[in-house]
Symmetry: C2
Subunit: 185 residues, 2 copies
């Protein structure tokens, strides 16, 4: 059984983001990322399959937060209320201290079409997982898929605002959800 | 009645889909696809960059239909009405005769995670293009992005129903749009 020093993936991720942002994603190697935090390339590959995964570290936690939010919604909650609860749960994963790191990450992704494709895929998978959780709570189709997709749409739009604004993510998400409801009225 | 003779790219696409579905996507080569319709591999590559593109042939037409629908919406249309017009325009690209081909294509994509990733990326790009068209018609943000994303959500859900149902795509899309509005009420 191998024991990890706590926080190693996070340190590697931070170093990766800084190098990707300053030198470029393509130009940065796993060895350089590891070296930047005094670790070996081998250690890097113990945590991440490849350098791309260093960018997507934390997605499991995001999924977990969404699912916990759905699970914690009251018994009689509507699909929209379940999704709204999930968005609220997710916002606690994005405290203001994380904004600068998230912005750096987004800049790296925006500059690389392959990473954009990956990011979109991850969000689409997340929507599918949330829809499954809604169905498990008795929501039928297509309501489950529509509510889940709407939640991801709101998250995506609100997240891009959050990295440029000083307001908490939760407040922005509730605003964007309100605007989505207005658009569809 | 005039019989419509499909052009070379359409014939190659049909052959590609049939081979992907029967032999598997990975196992089929461009040369085999070309051979199936009596053409050379060189001809295949004159029409498609690679075999994957044979699956995504027609996406430009889909985008064109969406944009024409947005452009054709009445002057005072709301963002939702513009998206609804775009969905109506798109449905004419999916006559009932195309259902069986669309179903075969979907089966191929469902069995291959890399193709799913590509498909999601294409839909996300389409949403971005529609949002741009809405902004060009004076819709502000985030309404433009939210309306465009909702349109793509409706299209995606309705399309998967259409390949399994006997009803026209337009009717299914209007139903799904109605259900999305109910979910968000």
């Amino acid at each position: 059984m191998v024991r990890w020093e706590p926080g190693t993936p996070e340190r590697l991720q931070r170093a990766a983001l800084e190098l990707f942002a300053t030198r470029g994603y393509e130009e940065t190697t796993a060895a350089e990322i590891a070296q930047a935090v005094g670790l070996t390339e081998r250690t890097f590959f113990r945590h991440f399959k490849d350098k791309r995964e260093a960018l997507f570290h934390g997605q499991d936690l995001l999924e977990k937060a969404f699912l916990e939010g759905v699970a914690a919604a009251p018994e009689q909650a509507s699909p929209l209320e379940m999704v709204s609860a999930a968005l609220r749960a997710v916002s606690s994963s994005f405290p203001d201290e994380r904004r600068s790191l998230s912005r750096t990450r987004q800049d790296v992704i925006d500059r690389n079409p392959a990473l954009q494709e990956r990011e979109r895929h991850k969000l689409a998978s997340l929507a599918a997982t949330i829809a499954e959780a809604l169905r498990a709570r008795g929501v039928g189709e297509p309501a489950a898929t529509l509510a889940a997709q709407s939640g991801i749409t709101v998250f995506g739009v609100a997240f891009l605002r959050w990295i440029d604004e000083e307001r908490p993510l939760d407040a922005i998400m509730q605003d964007v959800l309100g605007e989505l409801r207005t658009v569809l009225r």
